[in-house]
Subunit: 310 residues, 3 copies
């Protein structure tokens, strides 16, 4: 199982910025290309007031702040140059699903999608949409939001594929929330996602569950349910192999290679169709500001039989 896609963590939620600009990003796209990455996914085009491109819609509707650099333009140009498919991530208000004004939030993202398609839709690299809401179970009207926003994006763009990346309500998710609880049961996970998939089918094409919230020995069970449900609803089933370490007090540095290696083997055994990661540039790039990412890159290249640049 090889990593062939990565998120681009703009606008970052909790990962410190590397302060890269054009030259540094181009170098990193070259590194991505060299290990076979063909898909790049903008995690979101805006978070609260921070924007990845100078969106008039978001400046108007949420008082968005113009960015120093139009990153959507930059990433599309690099994706085109290096032959990759770019997924555009939708806007994230930063509010919990239960607290948003559902209709206004949806309308904002409709306008953002229109604006993005207008500005960037001619780029040959613009190849899909990523719906940035992350849930593990039904929360608020999230499934309805996926369905409506996904359908809108597909119609706007002549049917480009739509991706989501949920997480599993595992023990590490509970730790983050300060809850001392065990993982969601396999049965409840299946019940929740059977219901959600039945709601989003036709509007979402691909699911890529985050793989970092459960203990390693629990992972395969959840992945097999994801795969079974994806087949039932004719969805593509990818894995989002997290390359940061959730087990350490520094939140977050690159993952220990053994853990990534195990997750890739389990994903392969469970029949995942593609592996993407959150994310290459901080956590497994030879250009990362974290030297242990260089080590992870070296270990991954050895494992994948790739010519390592080191």
């Amino acid at each position: 199982m090889k990593i062939t896609g990565t998120f681009l963590d703009e606008i970052s939620y909790d990962i410190p910025h590397q302060n890269w600009d054009e030259r540094e990003w181009e170098r990193d796209f070259q590194s991505m290309k060299s290990i076979g990455i063909d898909t790049v996914i903008l995690i979101r085009c805006g978070l609260r007031r921070e924007l990845a491109y100078p969106s008039k819609v978001l400046m108007d509707r949420v008082n968005g702040l113009p960015p120093y650099r139009d990153l959507v333009d930059l990433f599309l140009n690099l994706a085109e140059k290096y032959g990759m498919t770019f997924y555009f991530g939708t806007y994230d208000s930063g509010l919990e699903p239960e607290k948003i004004d559902f209709q206004r939030d949806l309308d904002t993202n409709f306008r953002v999608a229109e604006e993005a398609w207008e500005r960037y839709g001619r780029s040959p690299a613009f190849g899909g949409w990523y719906l940035s809401r992350e849930i593990a179970v039904q929360r608020g009207r999230s499934a309805e939001g996926y369905a409506k926003l996904g359908a809108f994006c597909k119609e706007l763009s002549g049917g480009l594929p739509v991706l989501i990346s949920p997480f599993i309500q595992g023990v590490k998710a509970n730790t983050d929330l300060g809850i001392n609880a065990s993982s969601i049961t396999l049965e409840e996970h299946e019940r929740q996602w059977d219901s959600i998939f039945s709601c989003i089918v036709g509007s979402v094409d691909t699911i890529a569950f985050q793989d970092g919230h459960v203990e390693i020995h629990e992972l395969e069970g959840y992945l097999r349910i994801n795969k079974k449900l994806a087949e039932k609803y004719h969805l593509q089933c990818w894995t989002n192999c997290e390359t940061f370490d959730r087990d350490m007090p520094i939140r977050f540095l690159p993952i220990k290679w053994d853990k990534m290696w195990r997750k890739l083997k389990i994903a392969e055994a469970a029949g995942m169709e593609k592996a993407i990661t959150f994310e290459f540039s901080h956590f497994m790039s030879p250009n990362s500001m974290y030297p242990s990412a260089h080590g992870l890159y070296d270990r991954y290249c050895e494992y994948a039989g790739l010519k390592n640049e080191v």
Copy 2:
């Protein structure tokens, strides 16, 4: 708006040490010089028992521990060599303003100032005093402390200027204290600092508020009040442009360039007379142990039209 001054974070309160000695510090002073920094400010000459110079006063009065290197001597020599003005930061007991023995703490700092002036006052680079107490509103007898210690230092040194760097009681200050509260109102901020300035006028020459505790869209309002009050009391009004990121779970790594860029534009619009930073060596130096500081340096140099060494 350019950065022309920086704190020197010795003795550090919460930023891990880079373990630099003479060679590394000289290299960093060269980097400071190359981007136009003309002012260096020792954040404090001692914190609890840790000392920046072998102070007999502090060894005697607070059981201070002799340092491996006399950093005041080192920094004064480098400041002289590179044509910079050095501000000497006073001692910080580490106690809250409400908990100190006010008179004893003040006496300690009187003796420290005398000792420092005796040891280092002949250096042509010794150009001012920095009062290390940081407050956002009246606390204990802090304003009185500024007035008395500032007056003492000025008289001792033939009128060398005295600097303070308060903060704004913003939402990020409250988060640090575990308080879920909004920012202090503009009106209350003005009321507090009108009162404090009226107390310290004549003893303090320059104020440089920290710019990182409020949301970016709130900043200009506070800076304009600071400027108005500074004019009323004939104080110099600088900005302390923080170059570390307060929004990330790793506390602290270098700030995202977009945020620094916005703060500099706002400071310029609000009429700040000089921009200093906390601080160059960890967070925006090409020599920093944090590679994202190298990126911040590159972005800043591009913005400032400086020849970048990269």
Copy 3:
């Protein structure tokens, strides 16, 4: 006082992984050798389900996960090549002493020791055992555990020495536990360890207390008690000079050199017979992913009169 030993932090409990493999580890053993390190101590051979070698015992008894690399084999080969003594660290279930099934945990470690001796006992570098349980006061049946496991290991291996590395119930230990308390008194520390030493004598040869949980001015008192008790029970008395900084919000980066320097001077004054560290590779190695470790290495080399490779 020079550092002549270091822990090898596999399997790490709370320090992020550097993602090193054979080449990187060999480079680091070379660096260790160059500053006079003659002793390397595996901190533990397994933690919960993570293993440092493919232990059939631990796969069977605790569902251990096979590692990517047999690190015990790697470390023994490097230790042999560079003329060092290797201590094998026992298994750690990750459970508190009061919560373990004492007999089953002890049996597991008996089987692990047998297996390790069987697999690796022929290596000329295999020179001792490290009992990985860390306590500061009597907890559960820990002293009995040291006595029984130490005796078992010694008998198995023809009397190879057994090492433990306890900590002092100091103010920084209490902070970690969320307890707002002062350090254990010297009297209570002596009472506790007189009792524990009386229990483990004959089964444990060397104690190396961690030196980072008390304030620097408190340290000498505790070390002198440790030394006095060690002499009473004919134990070797080393110091474990921690090279990470316990005083910073980032948990953990390399320690400030001044602090390490002071601890070494105090250890020497208190008559410690050898200084080891937790640990070289992350916190004071020129190969560390943390650049401030390179600075610490440079400072240490200057202090120790060693030819610095920089």
